[in-house]
Symmetry: C2
Subunit: 514 residues, 2 copies
């Protein structure tokens, strides 16, 4: 058994079932071993940003560690932006990155680079395997590192000869760190604060936005008068009709400041203290008011659900009745195509138990409200701000949940970064309906230009934000990659095409002209 085989057996032994891949020469022994070993489904992406983004989407929905296979420093580099997003989503991910054979590196062949250096800025754990005997053990350590709460990015670099030389057989998974329980003192302090009667916000993220956590948070809020608020961007929110409703902190700084203006206490529950996404001249970086005390019930690393259970217990709120979201089917009143009207249509048509992937940027808040009373669904967001995640994320989510419909709400500019994901959706026959929110511009930048006070612009600056010369034809682009597609220029067309997409098996793309 060579090193590559011993590594694959180690991965499957630890529960890794899918590997998202874009391999090259140095990974050929790993690739060849896939058929001999079995147990790993290998999903090809035609660009590495697709690979890492899909791995992220898979892990979010499968609640299992994701794995990727990438080729040398440049291949890893191509996947870094979505690794950044995955890291901000606290995803457990193991990246296997091939490198030149150990003895070949000193010749500085053209594809040589400092692979560890490339990995480090977006990895929590980096190791280069020394030889084929250590590869399995290193792989097991990588998985354990990835599974360390709250979920981490582990990058294992595999010189080619560590794959092709004789290995030592699979290695067992070392003991994996568990989420630490929150101390009774912290719970008691949070309870005191909630009993004070002063305006308090439970600021939620991570497991606090999954159904059990959210229900507990809802009971606590109902029994104390506290307000629930989700982080602006979250890995996964279980929401919709029948679930505890939660608003999201808005992205624009002024709106975020307003949303928090009345709070005197902010209790962090699996979240981080709210800060502005960017700095703007004369606006604060911290979003909570100066006279608001920020305290932590549970860090992202801690056992967030246990902390909420203990807090509900302390407050005698475990049996408190909690109001849930009612099913609301917004009426599509407008004929005019807007993202708001589109959000209403999506909210109305969204099937039970769908997965909504949202990289809608300027249209995001409209879709968040438009789907609030939709059938129960999971809502996955862009966690790290590196655009180009939507199509890959939807791809990975569909791999994880083949029986659920995935709806991808996708800004046009961002879609271009990892457009190759459409091909993987076609190849794997994934049940993804993509809605391109086609405003033919980097609309968010127009707002940001004003927000940062950069002054008036001329033709050159405008050209950096307008994508209409020429307009992208998303129907052609989708068909070029094997995905059926249609264009909607009216709300009636959008209604009809969305029904087509949602009722078809396999990928479908709607180019919604805004």
């Amino acid at each position: 058994m060579n090193g590559a085989e011993s590594l694959i057996r180690t991965l499957t032994g630890a529960g890794v079932e899918v590997c998202f891949a874009n391999p090259g020469t140095s990974e050929m022994h790993f690739v060849a071993a896939l058929d001999r070993v079995g147990g790993v489904r290998c999903v090809l992406g035609l660009f590495e940003g697709v690979v890492t983004g899909a791995a992220d989407g898979y892990a979010r929905m499968a609640d299992k560690p994701a794995s990727t296979l990438l080729h040398l420093g440049p291949g890893l580099a191509n996947g870094l932006a979505n690794l950044h997003n995955a890291r901000r989503a606290n995803i457990p991910m193991v990246n296997i990155v091939g490198d030149h054979a150990t003895y070949h590196k000193r010749y500085d062949a053209p594809l040589t680079s400092d692979v560890e250096g490339v990995a480090r800025p977006f990895s929590d754990w980096v190791l280069t395997s020394a030889n084929s005997r250590s590869v399995a053990r290193d792989g097991a350590a990588a998985i354990a590192a990835a599974m360390t709460p709250p979920g981490r990015i582990a990058t294992l670099i595999l010189p080619a000869d560590t794959s092709w030389k004789e290995g030592d057989g699979p290695a067992p998974l070392p003991s994996v760190e568990k989420r630490a329980a929150v101390s009774p003192d912290k719970v008691a302090e949070a309870a005191r604060l909630l009993r004070s009667g002063e305006p308090t916000v439970l600021f939620l993220s991570g497991p606090a936005l999954r159904e059990p956590g959210l229900t507990l948070a809802g009971r606590i809020a109902a029994s104390t008068g506290a307000r629930l608020l989700a982080q602006t961007h979250n890995s996964r929110v279980e929401r919709g009709a029948g679930r505890v409703a939660v608003e999201f902190l808005p992205y624009p700084v002024d709106e975020a400041l307003s949303a928090l203006a009345d709070a005197r206490h902010l209790l962090l529950v699996g979240s981080k203290a709210p800060v502005a996404f960017f700095a703007y001249p004369d606006k604060p970086s911290e979003l909570s008011p100066p006279d608001c005390a920020v305290r932590t019930l549970a860090t992202p690393e801690e056992d967030v659900t246990q902390a909420l259970e203990a807090l509900a217990e302390e407050l005698n709120a475990r049996g408190t009745a909690v109001p849930v979201q009612t099913r609301e089917t917004p009426l599509a009143t407008a004929d005019k195509v807007t993202s708001g009207a589109a959000a209403a249509v999506v909210g109305a048509q969204l099937p039970e138990n769908a997965i909504v992937v949202e990289e809608a940027l300027t249209a995001a808040s409209g879709f968040i409200s438009g789907t609030q009373g939709a059938a129960p669904h999971d809502y996955l967001q862009l966690t790290g701000g590196a655009i180009g995640i939507g199509l890959p994320l939807a791809t990975g989510a569909a791999i994880a949940c083949p029986d659920r419909k995935v709806v991808c709400l996708q800004a046009d500019g961002s879609a271009m970064y990892t457009v190759q994901a459409l091909w993987t959706q076609a190849r794997e026959g994934l049940d993804v309906t993509t809605i391109i929110l086609d405003n033919r511009s980097y609309a968010i930048l127009k707002g940001e230009l004003a927000n940062v006070g950069a002054g008036s612009t001329g033709r050159k600056a405008d050209d950096m934000m307008e994508l209409d010369r020429p307009a992208l034809d998303w129907v052609f682009i989708a068909r070029g990659m094997g995905v059926e597609a249609g264009r909607a220029e009216t709300m009636e067309e959008f209604n009809r095409l969305l029904a087509t997409g949602l009722s078809s098996q396999g990928p479908y793309l709607i180019d919604l002209l805004l």
Copy 2:
């Protein structure tokens, strides 16, 4: 004048005329200043790998420093693979990378990352501007660093507030290091070696492959019996009818070993000692035979052309008659579509003074021979092995040379990595004819799988190398990005479509089904 303006004025003062860009919020003051300042043409790419690859192509053809504008760590990360290639091509390039405002970084907002850490593996020079007063001086230092021989990658990180606060006005370019002259001793030693009569190879790259260098090398070879050989991959080769012909060292290890088997001396002229691209079990990493002495006439950093002049002088070869390549129009004999037949057609139709960008991978050697006797042209190759450079490189070359036809010989799998470049070609109306060598597979990996001895494969491994399920439709993809296109399934069709592409103004794409 704010920091951004002072920086742009510094860039234009130092001769920077084009900036390839994909900006975001942190770069909005830079973008807004473009219209106020003037003098910089700003070219938008819809993905950062397009931006860095186009900057590379521009610098290769303009012989001027290239500049890019990128957004934070993830934006830079997206551009790294083509920065790797540019670095291996010894390109002078200044990357301006926006970052969060200095005071905002400590809040660890979602898009925060270690931008210097991201830059370092593929940059020769990295600096974060401390404040708006130092930005212009830092920019001047970045240009000087980029122009240091043989051409370097300089990355200047610009926290947002260093752009928007008051600057100190433009800074002058500090003195730029020149290529060092090669010592008379080294020239004399090379002359002795060439006079020995033992089989000697002049191994050429960099300026030795531009017309003046190549002519001198040809005279030296003609007067001493030495053989000329170019590196396998080069930034730019001036070749074709009327110029000194030079073969390229083959990529496959066995062919490379054969090509060098008889050499007893290898004289490096702007090149590096030849090594295998990858390691293969039981094959050597060094490609020159054990009994061949490798000596250096001029390193890539030194004045390669001056060294060749001095050597020709020393050998009394400055007036030696040098045979040049005759115009050869290969006959397209085959009806069957092959890359070899396509190469003959390209060789026959290539217009005078064209720029050929080649990322043909498995078809590369066929195109090198097929165009050897074509009309004189420049030939630009993939220097660093990070695939996905062809379309961007062609884009940048066309920006640099608006009066010349660019022909891009592009493997299909590689084309997908930076396919967004087609949109920039359409927007800028660039005169690029792209030929997609559409074999619907990562053909090179099939060969590599055998070369590394990875054994037999099954369905899973094969799926990592086959792109035919579904087949990409390149005509749709091109039209989706605003580029006119046609499909060739016979040599007759290819002949006709190539004539159409070459005679049209603006971009055109041919999907050549192999």
